[in-house]
């Protein structure tokens, strides 16, 4: 199925290959339609055979057939199309069937590839060498136009290009093979890793079980041996509080830093806004936007509250530091002294800490002031460490499994390209596309990079593009596309997004970048990764030759 679709990606969609003898076909008739024009007396319109006209009316530059088949060599029936306005005069014979029976004017293009030229281009005074290199579509020389036959030259150039293209495609096919192999290798690595992880996990589980046993044993041995721990300069509560204080201080500093950064960003924003508001005030019509988002005042208040010194915040650390006796009660009430916004977080952390402390014997349960023995603590620690290892391994396993299940495109091919980047210059920017990652716009003059979207998924989409002679284009077919979303927000617009559409090429390269809509980009990218059919076809052809 995929194969069929890919084969539709014809490089020269209009190409026609000569079939049957030349004979004396009327002007503009392709060999496959020659049979309709054989009668020497009458002509029956191809899709309306009930309409018969004298053969002399074929190519007399007047449209007689509702399907236009009597004018294969002129533009007289060019209006036979659902795209043209019609009146009863055009539709008298077939009201509901207004389409051409012929694909166009047949251009022999001797020395090159024959093609059909749209009837709308016949005798319009323009030499359409791109399609009709022999110039035969301008046979009437309207306005004195003379289109010389350029097929020798064009054909030669074409063949040269085509050869290069085929060669390049062959290379691309080989490269794709390499990529597939690489992807397979990477996949194998993951699979291997998964295997290893499985084993590791089993081992860890065993270890955990073993350590649990050990801990139980140590505890049993230590039971009754519990003594009150030596009086420390600072009580456990004191240490805990010290810890909490330190952490809170760290948080505060971080917050302060973040706020400074934010403020400096904001002041830059304000500076920019003031430029805009100059416009706005001096000429409202043109800059009606209210500028950037209003600073979140409530949020700001919270930040202020947190960064106030603790006394102002109602926390008197000394109270706790000196205190030794009513430790855990204070701990429970501790979060009450924090600003609401921080309270939840601190509360949660303290609870976790306390539970951990209790579990690990550092803190006695239910108000008991006794501590665990070192032996118990050590055992506990070993167990925890083992459990940690187990958790990590499991997490890693999940990640690798997910990575294995992720869509890396056909043949898993993008696995081989993940994280690889290609870039190109266009205008004042350099654009970069990193496989399975993101697209980026970088100003050449320096300044910040703009994220144009993060990879979200691989899709298939139908494209309909012209293919330049060098083959660096998408053509007409279904293509693989990579969607990138949620890039940097656009002033007056959406978050940037990029669709990267992939075409077959020998080397990874960005062919074209367009801003289809405001901040919605489209990249056409060549890569050997999508040379599926061709990549397979070329070596096969070679194989076939070998067999001969």
């Amino acid at each position: 199925m995929k194969r069929v679709v890919s084969l539709l990606c014809l490089n020269y969609a209009a190409s026609v290959y000569a079939a049957g003898g030349e004979g004396s076909r009327p002007r503009g008739v392709g060999p496959e339609f020659a049979k309709f024009y054989k009668d020497a007396v009458t002509f029956s319109c191809i899709t309306n055979p009930s309409v018969n006209i004298p053969i002399g009316r074929v190519n007399d530059d007047y449209c007689d057939c509702p399907d236009g088949s009597d004018e294969p060599g002129t533009s007289a029936c060019a209006h036979v199309s659902p795209l043209s306005p019609h009146t009863p005069v055009d539709q008298s014979h077939a009201r509901h069937n207004i389409s051409l029976a012929l694909p166009g004017f047949y251009c022999k293009n001797k020395g090159h590839v024959p093609t059909y030229v749209p009837f709308t281009s016949v005798n319009d005074g323009i030499c359409d060498y791109e399609l009709c290199c022999d110039g035969s579509e301008e046979w009437d020389h309207v306005g004195g136009v003379k289109c010389e036959d350029r097929c020798q030259q064009i054909g030669k150039e074409f063949r040269k290009l085509d050869e290069a293209r085929q060669k390049s495609l062959g290379n691309a096919g080989r490269k794709r093979k390499e990529l597939v192999a690489e992807a397979g290798r990477l996949r194998k690595e993951v699979e291997d890793r998964l295997m290893t992880l499985g084993t590791e996990i089993e081992g860890s589980e065993l270890k955990v079980k073993q350590l649990e046993g050990e801990l139980a044993e140590v505890e049993r041995r230590e039971k009754g041996k519990v003594v009150r721990s030596a009086v420390q300069k600072v009580g456990k509560m004191g240490a805990l509080v010290g810890l909490a204080k330190q952490r809170t201080q760290e948080l505060r500093e971080t917050l302060e830093r973040v706020r400074q950064e934010r403020d400096s960003s904001r002041s830059r924003l304000e500076e920019l806004e003031s430029v805009l508001s100059t416009f706005k005030e001096e000429y409202n019509p043109n800059f009606n936007d209210e500028g950037g988002p209003e600073p979140d005042a409530a949020h700001d208040r919270d930040l202020n509250a947190i960064t106030q010194s603790d006394k102002e915040n109602g926390i008197d650390w000394e109270e706790y530091e000196g205190e030794e006796d009513s430790d855990t009660d204070v701990l429970y009430a501790f979060e009450n002294y924090l600003p609401v916004s921080l309270r939840g977080w601190v509360d949660q952390k303290l609870r976790d800490l306390r539970v951990t402390l209790i579990d690990s014997g550092i803190l006695a349960d239910t108000g008991s002031s006794s501590g665990e023995s070192k032996a118990v603590a050590d055992a506990q620690q070993r167990l925890n460490s083992a459990r940690n290892d187990l958790d990590n391994s499991r997490k890693s396993l999940t990640e690798h499994k997910e990575g294995l299940d992720k869509d890396f495109g056909p043949d898993d091919i993008f696995r081989a390209l993940k994280g690889q980047c290609i870039s190109t210059d266009s205008g004042e920017y350099t654009y970069e596309f990193c496989f399975m990652d993101k697209t980026t716009q970088k100003p050449k003059k320096g300044g910040g990079h703009t994220n144009m979207g993060n990879f979200v998924r691989v899709e298939r989409m139908t494209v309909d593009e012209d293919l330049p002679p060098n083959g660096k284009g998408l053509g007409t077919c279904e293509r693989i596309a990579m969607k990138h979303e949620n890039g940097q927000h656009c002033w007056n617009g959406p978050n940037r997004a990029t669709t990267v559409i992939l075409g077959c090429a020998e080397e990874g390269e960005i062919w074209k970048i367009m801003e289809e809509e405001k901040c919605v980009y489209r990249m056409e990218v060549g890569t050997p990764a999508v040379c599926e059919a061709l990549g397979q076809a070329v070596p096969k052809k070679a194989d076939g030759r070998d067999e001969l």
Partner: protein, 1002 residues
């Protein structure tokens, strides 16, 4: 072309959608633009008018023509009007000119200013005279004084009568005291000046500390007191010496200097014109109460002060981008016009009264038979301008075409445009790279959609510096234009009048060093803010600046421009982001010392005039070969701008009401002598729904100027992006436009030679049918008889079309037959444009779809003969090379096709005057067209008698001259079926389009 946030757009669209039918959507920034009461001179004159009206019976205008000063000779009457202010007598020189073409012109100046006998305040360097050069820009012909005009014997004392006009049918009665003029046609008063006593010429006076209310001549103390209280606002000196608005203060160095005049049209119910406004074609009354429920009357006068109005609102007298102070009044069987030649800010109040006025009585007495004809409605207009001369032209018709053609003779006929420019234009703010342009160009071909022109908005420049290309995004403009040229397509690039104030920019350096920019009130270079930021403005009133501008367009100066580069002059109101009302301060100074206030409305015209000249002379080789007609699009305009190019209705919105408003706006341009007009298809701001976009293309296919355009923040909307069925339907509309280009071009030629509108409202085509006088949602295309009523409402699938005449009409697409007069219902599902063919017409089309209009040049023609009730049909075709000036040397084909039922023949006759094709160019052209033939003749409503007929006889002048032989060609006849007309088609008569021939159906 302006910025707008997405959220605003969305909000506005929502508003428009929800409220459009109930109330006008409020979107424009009203606070940025003055109301009459915020504009001192408007407020003063409205107050003056209120006083006059309040004392109607006792009010006496203080203006008198001094009988002993009157001189009349060779169609020119001169004299002095005096204005009595207390003891002071102000002398106002009067000229009344009578022109050969039947136009009368009344001009009033002020002697003291004329003699420069005044003192300017603030040491201003402004000119002391009233601005007297508007004529230099606006008037190009039709001012030959009439030697036949003569004073009438036996005139009453206190008045002077001058008989003039065709066959002496017109008469001007100049009343001496109070001064006033009545214009009569065949004895009937049609136009009255100062009949209400609102004439006002604010004379120069030195500033004194305490203003006193002057006692008027013949006024009692009580009257003066009464007036004092009534006009206390009007005489408030607060607006005499300086005025502030929006943070800007106008220093008004010449003090108050407004002029005003009431012009009445007795018996006239409708007035049209005063373009450009977004409102109905038939102008509304303007003295309504803003709080009233009655929305048929505005509370503000129509304003003309060319402005960059952002998000303009529907149904409003607010000013827009251009001004044509030309107004037509219509009653059954009569149309008259007045042209108020003044380039300063101008306001016009309109009121209508139903009373049976004196003039109507006069008419009834003189011609009792006309009792039923005379309407009882009288329309009064009150014209107010801030400065300049009082200078009014009067045209007495009697047909709309008479009025428009004399107006066009004065201000110039519309340019005969190049063929490409009446085809389809694809624009967007912005196609961002040259590759983008090439891509769009290829896509049109790929989807088989014809187009002729692709446009570049401001982003193509390097940093908004005109005459440059952004080297990053447009590295290869010439290569890009070569690709366009392969299919005879063109590029239109924008160049605005603001020049970026930045170092190392040769253009601005020259502008400064040569002193070619507009000056501020202190006579230094004026700096303002526009797209590039700090900018200067070229002063095109300065001949040196114009010469310089002309030089800038040479290919070696404007590098990257090519033969197929044409121009778009935007922002030429001028738009100044930080100026009062988004334009320049009124006390800015132009070359010759004229203040901005004097010339504001002419500013846009002067720029495109210079650009037009530049394009004419940029290419020596081309010029020596006869030259190519320039194409320039302008946003701002004045009377006369039609000579240089096309206009569009500015920055509209992607909303149904804006689509709907585009039709009356374009019709209004058509009857204002500037018919090459269009609206942005799809709507500039916002994203149109696919249905709206499709309907807009269908309407746009019938705009004289047909361009799709979109704002930078909108999604792309090139026709091929819409998807099916929309893309197919839009392509059909575009191909319909292309197939009818021969008829459109013929209509443009008619406009170019007669001033006739290209799209024509009902009142113009049927001047005797008063039911159609208020109609502005349907129109005829040129003289083709094609009657179009675009669908402009969402979800609407049918259209009621009004047929004014007792004639058959046929659906363009299925020949369904309708019979007028009356309103008929036409089905109009999305894929259908309501277009009818009026019986009695012949029009031409070219049916072969091509990639651009240039590639249709050698295609054969199809003639469509639409037989009506009389059995006859007639039409014309004008053809030339579609780009050069050779047509002026006879290189054209102009044919009349007439079908006569009596003889059963269709004839092609030459309309070109004999001997017009003797030049080499003419002969070469005609030779080149010899092979271009008529390939098909379609006869709609073909006679039943032709049933069974299979051949017709073709005789040609070239065959006949040889041997007198005729030949037979095939014909097919199809009978009537289910309400559709019978039709016949002549198969390939193969007659040359440029030759004489006859086809015999009998």
């Amino acid at each position: 072309m302006q910025r707008l946030s997405i959220s605003w757009t969305a909000f506005l669209l929502l508003c428009l959608t929800l409220c459009s039918l109930l109330t006008p959507a409020v979107s424009v920034k009203h606070e940025n633009f003055k109301t009459c009461s915020q504009s001192g001179f408007c407020k003063r004159n409205r107050a003056y008018a209120d006083t006059a009206a309040a004392q109607a019976s006792t009010w006496t205008s203080p203006y008198a023509l001094q009988s002993n000063s009157i001189k009349f000779s060779q169609g020119l009457l001169t004299g002095v009007v005096t204005k009595q202010v207390g003891d002071e007598t102000i002398r106002l020189p009067l000229t009344v000119s009578f022109y050969e073409n039947g136009v009368a012109r009344v001009t009033i100046d002020e002697e003291q200013r004329q003699k420069k006998d005044i003192e300017l305040r603030h040491g201003s360097k402004a000119r002391k005279e009233r601005y007297n050069e508007a004529e230099k820009w606006a008037i190009v012909g039709g001012t030959t004084l009439s030697s036949g005009a003569a004073t009438k014997n036996g005139e009453k004392k206190g008045e002077t009568r001058v008989v003039y006009g065709p066959a002496g049918a017109f008469e001007a009665v100049i009343k001496h005291e109070p001064f006033g003029v009545e214009f009569l046609r065949e004895g009937v008063v049609e136009v009255v000046f100062n009949g209400k006593g609102m004439m006002n010429v604010e004379h120069w006076r030195a500033k004194v500390d305490k203003p006193v209310v002057e006692k008027k001549e013949g006024e009692t103390e009580e009257e003066q007191k009464a007036r004092e209280s009534a006009v206390v606002e009007g005489e408030d000196e607060g607006t005499w010496w300086e005025e502030s608005f929006g943070g800007n203060t106008d220093s008004k160095p010449r003090g108050p200097e407004s002029i005003a005049l009431d012009i009445s049209f007795p018996g006239y119910s409708h007035v049209y014109g005063l373009a450009e406004h977004a409102g109905p074609l038939s102008l509304r009354e303007t003295r309504g109460d803003s709080n009233s429920e009655d929305k048929t009357k505005y509370s503000e006068p129509y304003r003309m002060y060319n402005s960059d109005v952002f998000e303009y609102e529907m149904d409003s007298p607010m000013t827009l981008y251009g001004s044509i102070p030309f107004l037509q009044a219509k009653k059954r069987d009569s149309t008259v016009g007045v042209f108020w030649l003044n380039a300063a800010e101008t306001w016009v109040d309109i009121t209508k009264t139903k009373s049976f006025v004196k003039q109507a009585v006069d008419k009834v007495l003189q011609n009792p038979v006309s009792l039923g004809v005379t309407g009882s409605m009288t329309t009064d207009t009150h014209w107010i301008s801030e400065s300049g001369l009082l200078d009014v032209f009067v045209m007495l018709g009697p047909t709309p075409q008479d009025v428009i053609s004399t107006y066009s003779e004065l201000t110039g006929y519309t340019q005969l445009p190049q063929m490409f420019s009446i085809a389809y234009h694809q624009c967007r703010w912005n196609y961002v790279t040259d590759e983008d342009v090439r891509d769009v160009d290829r896509k049109f071909d790929k989807f088989k959609i014809p187009y002729d022109v692709i446009w570049l908005d401001i982003e193509y420049t390097e940093g908004k510096k005109y005459f440059t290309w952004d080297p990053m995004t447009f590295p290869d403009p010439l290569g890009m234009q070569e690709q366009l040229d392969e299919h005879e397509r063109k590029l239109v690039a924008i160049i605005d009048p603001h020049i970026k104030n930045e170092g190392n920019y040769p253009i601005v350096e020259e502008l400064k060093s040569k002193d070619l920019a507009v000056h501020n009130k202190d006579d230094n270079i004026y700096e303002g803010w526009c797209w590039p930021g700090s900018s200067y403005w070229i002063d095109c009133f300065n001949p040196k600046a114009r010469d310089w501008w002309v030089g800038l367009f040479k290919y070696d100066r404007f590098k990257g421009s090519a033969k197929n580069t044409w121009l778009w002059n935007d922002m030429n109101e001028p738009s100044v982001f930080n100026g009062p009302e988004t334009t320049m301060p009124k006390d800015n100074l132009y070359a010759g010392g004229w203040e901005h206030r004097d010339v504001h409305n002419l500013n846009g015209l002067t720029l495109i005039n210079a650009t037009y000249d530049a394009l004419l002379s940029r290419d020596k080789e081309e010029a020596s070969a006869g030259g190519v007609r320039p194409f320039v699009l302008t946003r701002s305009f004045f009377a006369g701008s039609q000579r240089m190019g096309a206009m569009w209705t500015g920055d509209n919105q992607a909303s149904w009401p804006h689509l709907e408003a585009s039709v009356p706006m374009i019709l209004s341009m058509g009857i204002s002598g500037f018919p090459f007009a269009g609206a942005d298809v799809g709507g500039f701001f916002g994203n149109p729904s696919k249905e709206l976009l499709t309907r807009w293309y269908q309407a746009g296919a019938f705009y004289p100027f047909f361009r799709g355009h979109a704002h930078i923040d909108t999604r792309r909307r090139e026709p091929y992006l819409a998807g099916e069925p929309y893309t197919g339907i839009i392509t059909q509309a575009l191909r319909l436009r292309y197939s009818l280009l021969p008829s459109w071009y013929t209509a443009f030629h008619e406009a170019h030679t007669t001033g006739a509108p290209i799209v024509r409202p009902n009142y113009y085509v049927h001047p005797s049918d008063d039911k159609g006088f208020g109609m502005d949602d349907q129109f005829y295309v040129g003289s083709t008889g094609l009657l179009v009523k675009p669908v402009v409402k969402e979800g609407q699938e049918g259209q009621d079309i009004y047929l004014a005449d007792k004639e058959k009409y046929f659906d363009y697409f299925d020949f369904w037959t309708y019979e007028g007069p009356g309103t008929v219902s036409v089905a109009a599902p999305l894929e259908t444009i309501p277009v009818l063919m009026q019986g009695g017409n012949v029009f031409a089309r070219r049916e072969r779809p091509r990639r651009s209009s240039g590639l249709m040049r050698w295609d054969p023609y199809t003639l469509v003969v639409v037989i009506g009730n009389s059995g006859d049909a007639e039409g014309t075709l004008y053809v030339d090379d579609g780009e050069g000036f050779d047509y002026q040397q006879g290189a054209y084909i102009h044919r009349k096709f007439s079908f006569k039922s009596s003889t059963g023949t269709l004839m092609s006759e030459d309309l070109a005057p004999e001997g017009s094709a003797t030049s080499k160019k003419a002969k070469d052209y005609l030779r080149s067209m010899e092979k271009v033939r008529v390939e098909k003749i379609v006869i709609v409503n073909a006679p039943e008698a032709w049933k069974g007929k299979t051949e017709v006889e073709v005789g040609t002048e070239y065959l006949a001259s040889k041997s007198g032989l005729t030949r037979k060609v095939g014909m097919e006849w199809h009978g009537r079926e289910e309400g559709k007309a019978a039709w016949a088609v002549v198969r390939d008569p193969a007659v040359a389009i440029g030759k004489g021939w006859k086809i015999d159906f009998a």
